[in-house]
């Protein structure tokens, strides 16, 4: 078998074979991230990628090219590898977008992987996102590579010697590396339910009604802004509150957790609103509770508000808060199993930007 492959690669017919491969590059439909928007443009009527003999195809078994569109996450990396392994030889990989090159905008994210660590890459196309023209240029470059067998950079930058034009003063050359402008408080104080005096009569009436309906179930109900009401309570009372409110405030807009390590607590926040009652539509009611950080357990409200279900699962993965009775606790939903544990807690630190001065620019 091997000599047949060798014959195809270097025999007298190899030119025909390479010519055939050049004009039939079929990218598999693996839209990994947002650069897919520009990929779709490259193959639509505006740019018509099909004239280069290249057209997206659904099934990886019948394709020979992967265009990795931007960010590859830990979860997607496995899929990328499996898809690549399923494709028949000869196969090629083009990575488009800054995220695929070096992480781009998300370079220090906890869920990112470089595509070049997963599959062998033939060409990178920089840009965020690259234009359709750039993508088609990448495909042309790959075609050239198939014919000649050499990988060449398609962009060459000429170097300008600026030293004759600008003279850099000695004191600037001696200057230290600048520090990043971020100033982050050491022991921040988090206040979510700060009361604000505003003129909002309906809000005052609504708060009175809520106070009457929820007698004994709350610590405080306050107006925090126009159309924003904050209800503070304790975790064990939230199911009862949800039971009473679920007919007027019928859906959950957001479930949020705020980590406050220096006070050893998590603030759990359910933002509920109404679709059914017209007057309540603009009102966002935040139900706030505090739970200890070392034993983060909170009753799940997904039974009362089904719209809270997926957000509770997400918050469980991000912070490790255990929403009792939610069936998905202790399992992965959004994140890959090999992600570091509870990445959104404040004690999980991301790498920071640093300035690196090259030898000649100093």
């Amino acid at each position: 078998m091997d000599e047949h492959i060798e014959f195809l690669k270097s025999g007298p017919l190899s030119l025909v074979k390479r010519w055939g491969a050049k004009w039939s590059l079929w990218p598999v439909h693996l839209v990994t991230a947002c650069c897919g928007v520009e990929l779709a443009h490259a193959y639509a009527c505006g740019y018509d990628g099909e004239r280069l003999g290249s057209l997206n195809y659904g099934i990886c078994r019948q394709t020979n090219l992967i265009i990795v569109e931007g960010a590859i996450t830990r979860k997607m990396a496995k899929v990328l590898r499996i898809t690549w392994e399923q494709m028949p030889d000869p196969k090629f990989v083009i990575v488009m977008g800054a995220c695929g090159l070096n992480g781009g905008l998300f370079w220090n994210g906890y869920h990112m992987v470089k595509p070049s660590d997963v599959v062998p890459v033939d060409y990178f196309i920089p840009g965020c996102p690259p234009t359709p023209e750039a993508l088609l240029r990448g495909i042309r470059a790959l075609q050239d590579k198939i014919m000649t067998g050499e990988t060449n950079s398609t962009a060459k930058f000429s170097k300008a010697d600026l030293s004759s034009i600008i003279e850099i003063p000695e004191e600037i050359k001696q200057k230290r590396v600048p520090t990043p402008p971020h100033s982050i408080a050491k022991a921040p104080v988090i206040q979510i339910d700060g009361q604000r005096e505003i003129e909002w009569d309906e809000g005052a009436n609504l708060i009175q009604t809520l106070k009457k309906d929820l007698e004994g179930l709350y610590i405080s109900i306050e107006m925090t802004d126009l159309n924003r009401i904050c209800l503070k309570t304790t975790p064990e009372k939230t199911p009862e509150i949800a039971e009473r409110l679920k007919f007027t405030f019928d859906h959950v807009k957001s479930v949020n957790v705020v980590d406050v390590p220096n006070e050893n607590k998590f603030i759990i926040e359910y933002v509920v609103s109404s679709y059914g009652v017209k007057d309540l539509m603009p009102v966002l009611l935040s139900i706030i509770t505090e739970i200890p950080r070392d034993n983060p357990r909170h009753p799940s409200l997904a039974k009362h508000w089904p719209s809270a279900d997926y957000m509770e699962r997400e918050m469980h993965e991000f912070f490790g808060v255990w929403f009792e009775d939610n069936p998905w606790m202790g399992r992965n939903f959004l994140l890959s199993p090999d992600t570091p544990e509870y990445p959104l807690r404040k004690d999980f630190k991301l790498p920071r930007e640093t300035y690196v001065l090259r030898g000649d620019s100093r």
Partner: protein, 417 residues
């Protein structure tokens, strides 16, 4: 007919572990024992973006649908805690890059609300135009992807040809085709001149004319109607219960639009309708968005004709630069000086925006001392209606999956953030 039980030794397949299929082995066993089977759709499938749906089938009826999102989870909430407020604008635009106007607007308005920054009239109108252009572009994109799902190639080419006009408008107005990051706290980066506004105005007429052709080819096509009508129905009660948002909620008969409920920018001054439908099926979800394109076209034309003059950057911010340092009135020269030390007062600020696919929620918690946010919560429309999407799959046939998926315009980069 006599009941027949086939005794097959059930062992969950080995892939359950190696491929991170997020369902417990008991669930697989239970399905096998009840003579049902599981079908994994995706992550590599011929649609847009990637997620896996685990379908539990009896015959070809979908009994249960379990989503497996997160293939495009780029950890935005954590990254945003480590960057300056101004650096977060391009970051938080990335969930849905074809809709930059609305995503910028949502984030920037949180800062403006927290700091009480007044935005000049002209900037508000230009922001409205950008937001509506993004809305048209996203709806056209979703229509094209719906056509791909249905195997209708002309239906893909036509809206993407029209999207070139939107991209060209963005290119002339902001300098990039899709990721513009053009809206900044206090206004916009630079003023649009008459030529650009004229181009946008003219292109709305071309859009309208071409949409009529699209209607003939795709929207009113009997083959399309038969694929979409009475498929994946979400009634009003279900839509409310599962917290569906945006045009998909309005297709189920709930008149909720953030632009009406909590008006922002120039929307209260313009004349437009909120299209709603009663059926809640895939076809009405599609038609509501087509109708929204016409409404957006009308909003853009009105905004261009009513456009007031004046500055495009708030005096609160540009006034912070001392008079002797000031070379021009242009914000671009003072970006670092004005925005790098931006600090929000302590507290939590939540702002809703009507993005193309529905309600977009940005919530920022600030500690009042740092120049980075303490916590950013982003609920994108895709994430909010994922539950409703899964519920609408239940009970339909497996061959209708593509039609329902396409009718929601589900875009995983947006949902996973």
């Amino acid at each position: 007919m006599k009941d027949m039980a086939i005794d097959i030794p059930v062992e969950p397949p080995a892939e359950l572990k190696s491929l991170f299929i997020p369902i417990p082995p008991e669930y697989v066993e239970d399905a096998y024992n009840k003579d049902e089977y599981l079908v994994l759709v995706g992550p590599q499938h011929p649609g847009s973006g990637h997620m896996r749906i685990i379908l539990r089938l009896k015959g070809d009826i979908i009994m249960d649908a379990i989503p497996d999102p997160g293939y495009v989870h780029r950890s935005m909430e954590k990254l945003a805690e480590n960057r300056l407020y101004i650096q977060n604008i391009p970051l938080l635009e990335r969930p849905s890059i074809m809709d930059p106007g609305n995503y910028n607007l949502g984030y920037v308005r949180v800062i403006e609300k927290a700091m009480d920054i007044e935005v000049p009239e002209r900037a508000r109108y230009i922001r409205t135009i950008l937001a509506e252009l993004g809305r048209i572009g996203t709806h056209l994109y979703d229509a094209g992807i719906l056509a791909v799902f249905l195997g209708h190639t002309t239906g893909f080419m036509w809206p993407f040809g029209l999207r070139e006009l939107i991209c060209e408008s963005f290119l002339r107005a902001t300098g990039t085709r899709i990721t513009s990051s053009f809206i900044v706290p206090g206004g916009i980066r630079w003023d649009l001149d008459e030529k650009v506004l004229d181009f946008i105005n003219k292109s709305t007429y071309t859009l309208e004319k071409r949409l009529k052709g699209f209607e003939r080819i795709f929207i009113k096509n009997p083959a399309v109607i038969s694929r979409l009508r009475d498929v994946g129905i979400l009634n009003r009660r279900e839509a409310i219960e599962y917290g569906v948002v945006g045009p998909f909620l309005r297709a189920s008969g709930v008149e909720y639009d953030v632009r009406r409920v909590e008006p922002y920018e120039a929307y209260p001054e313009l004349d437009w309708d909120v299209p709603i439908a009663e059926d809640g099926d895939a076809y009405s979800r599609f038609l509501v968005r087509v109708e929204e394109i016409y409404q957006s076209i009308s909003i853009i034309r009105q905004a261009i004709s009513d456009m007031p003059g004046g500055p495009v950057m708030s005096e609160d911010l540009i006034g912070r630069i001392k008079e002797k340092d000031k070379v021009s009135r242009d914000i671009r020269g003072y970006f670092y000086r004005i925005f790098s030390k931006l600090k929000l007062p302590s507290g939590e600020y939540t702002v809703l925006t009507e993005a193309a696919r529905g309600t977009l929620l940005y919530s920022i918690v600030s500690d009042g001392e740092s120049n980075v946010p303490y916590r950013v919560r982003i609920i994108t429309p895709g994430w909010a209606y994922l539950r409703g999407f899964m519920e609408s799959l239940k009970g339909s046939r497996v061959s209708d999956l593509q039609a329902i998926y396409g009718s929601f315009g589900y875009f995983p980069p947006e949902a996973d953030r």
